[in-house]
Every structure is written in structure tokens, then in C-alpha cells.
Symmetry: C2
Amino acid sequence: MACQVWEMAVATFRLNPTAASLLGFLHERPLTGWELVRVALERIGDFWSLTRSQVYRELAAMEQAGLVEAGPTGPRQRRPYTITAAGRETFAAWAGAEPGPEAIRFPLLLMVAFGRHVPAERLAGWLRNHRADHAARLDRYRGEIRSMEESGAADRFVLATLGFGVTYEQAVLDWFERLPTLISSGAGPPSSDRD
Amino acid sequence: MACQVWEMAVATFRLNPTAASLLGFLHERPLTGWELVRVALERIGDFWSLTRSQVYRELAAMEQAGLVEAGPTGPRQRRPYTITAAGRETFAAWAGAEPGPEAIRFPLLLMVAFGRHVPAERLAGWLRNHRADHAARLDRYRGEIRSMEESGAADRFVLATLGFGVTYEQAVLDWFERLPTLISSGAGPPSSDRD
DNA sequence: TACCCCATGTAATCAGTTACATGATTAT
DNA sequence: ATAATCATGTAACTGATTACATGGGGTA
């Protein structure tokens, strides 16, 4: 009978990548919502944003669907969630489907695209700030890779994603370097703007 | 009196980047919702996704707020929207605020991060597909740059965003090349998975 | 022991996607 | 003249962000 119930759930519940990630982490051990947020930000936060609210909502929905089970309520009504057999099944199904294309939303590029409406010095200032941010992230990725390699606890898949981070940040920094040239040397209409 | 009205609107209306882009395009000439979708996909679609529904909703909201005005209804109730003085004001305010950090959502990276739950050949197959997609995009960007440079009509700001596209795609392809090495050579726990 | 700060969760709002409806145009 | 197709817009749903509420543990 239980079997019947969760087989239905497996068929019915449409797992989004955020929820799937939560199930992924719950494979390792039971976690509360708060802990899941922390783990997720640390392990996938660099290329998959999520927030507390999402986590709690997905957990509630998945509990409803029988993919996870809540343990006894502790202080501040924190509840540890455990993945169920149905949850593992659903996660496996998700991990079997080809992932979709990536989405980038880059407000700074939007500004560049509308650059004719932005004074050049202002754009340059933003560029400096963003440059510093990206350089810091590059450093952080490298540090994480190093410390993972030093401790034996390196998961090579996680290392691979950090490797993407390094490559990406290098590319961004490289483009930042070239941007002043790109926008001042090209042909085209004048950049000044009168609103 | 009209002045009073739109000054209030300027103060009140919180412009998101999508709506701001629409105002940006309307600086050039009046456009209908449909045309705006086409222009936006072409000019910023590569780093700022948007859909018809969003466009129509933002247009309606901005009309409400007095940032745009709808012209006479044509066939299929298409209405050309014109930017108002309040709209220009609001856009200028938006263009004066520092853009936020970018957001990337890359489902394939999520899969890599949970790679221990995914059979290696399956991952390799997805990688091939994605590789082809990114190579195609790289080609497209290069083609667009070339044709923009050949025709004199090159806006150097748009060229700069295409330049980012090229850099980004190269970085992704580069990482794809290295990925098999990254995930097979590293230290760490075995990759096999039994659910 | 009273206060403050942080942990934890919930609710309200906003943005983005998918699915639907319908009126012109074009081709046969 | 009819059917097929595409242009255009709307509505319903899902996902994401922001703002709010509250309870505990530590420190003056």
C-alpha cells in the first residue's frame, strides 16, 4: 500500500532543479531546512542561486508528496528531513534527464548594451567595482580548490565545478580588460546622449 | 498638473531591468509589444532572457504609471507604445544606478556537481550535445560581429556585448575540453553510486 | 534577569514560463 | 472560398525575492 502511494507520487511530482538538489544533499544525511540552505549555498551556490524561502517551500511540497520525511521537531521547530525511497527514485529520474541550457542574467552587460545612455566615467567606475568582485571570486575558487586538494576530502565532481568557476572568472576579467578598447575604438554612431 | 502626475510616477514606479530595457528601445522609436519582443531578443536576448508575457505585462504597468503611452489600436489590437517624458526620466534614473551582480543558472553544472549519481557515459553524452550548442553560438556571435563590422551600422556597445559572448563561449568550450580529465584524474571517493 | 542578536521559519509580493485564445494573411 | 499558418495578445501557473514574525542562547 505504501508502495502504491509513492509510486503515484513519483509519477506525479514534477521536480525542479532546486528541489532535486535538496534531495541530492539529503542522500548523505538528514538535514534541517536551515542546514540545507547552508550546504547548498556552499556547494552549488556559485552557479545555482536559492533562498531560504524556496528551500522551505520545496521541503513542504516534497513532504506532502512523500519524497522526504520530517523527524521530530526540535528547538525553534527545526525539523530534520530524511529522504525516502520515493525520494531516491524521483531524484534518480531527475538525474536521468538531460539538463537544459544555462541562463545568464548580467545587468552590467545590459548597461553596456545601452551604453550610449550612460556617461563613460560612470561605466568605468562600475567596471572597476565589478572587476574587483570577480577577481575576489577567482581567488576564492582557487583557494577552495587548493584546500580541497590538500585535505584528502576532495570530491572530484565538486572540484570540476570549481574549475568552471575559475575558467569563467578568468574569461570575465579578460573581457573587462578589453572593454575600454572595444567601446572606444569601434565604428558607429557617437556615444553621447541627450535625454 | 500633468507634471505633478508623472513626477509622482517617477518616484513610485520601481523599474526592473526588463522594463528598463523596453524603455531603452522605445527611446529610438515607438514600438508595439510584438516588435519589442523581437528587438529585445535580438539585441539583448543573449544575456537577458525575456518573454512576450513579461513584455506585455510591463508595458501595461508602465502605461498605468505614465511612463509610456499607447497609440491608436491597429489590426489585431496591436498598439504602438511611445515613451513619455516621465519614461525618459525613469530610464535615466535606472541608468544611473550601479548594476547588480550577474546570476548564472547552469543545470549542467548541477549535474556535474551531483556527478556521483550519474553514469559516466550519460554525462559524456550530454556534454557532447552541450558542446555542439556552445560551438554553434560561438559561430553565430562571430558571424554577427563580422556582418556588423562590414555594414557600417555597427553600434560599438552592441559589438562589445557580442565580444563578451565570444569570450564566454570560448571559456565554456575550453572547460568542456578539460572536463573528462578533471573528473577522472582527481583524488576523492569513488564515483559509482548505488541508490 | 533583561536585553540583544542570531537562528529559523512564514507570508506577501514580484518576476518568469507555459498554455491558451483569437484575429489576419497567405496559399491553394 | 477554405484551410492552414502565423501574428498577437491574455490568462494561469510556477518559481524567486523581500519583508516579516518569533523563539532561544548568550552576555551585561
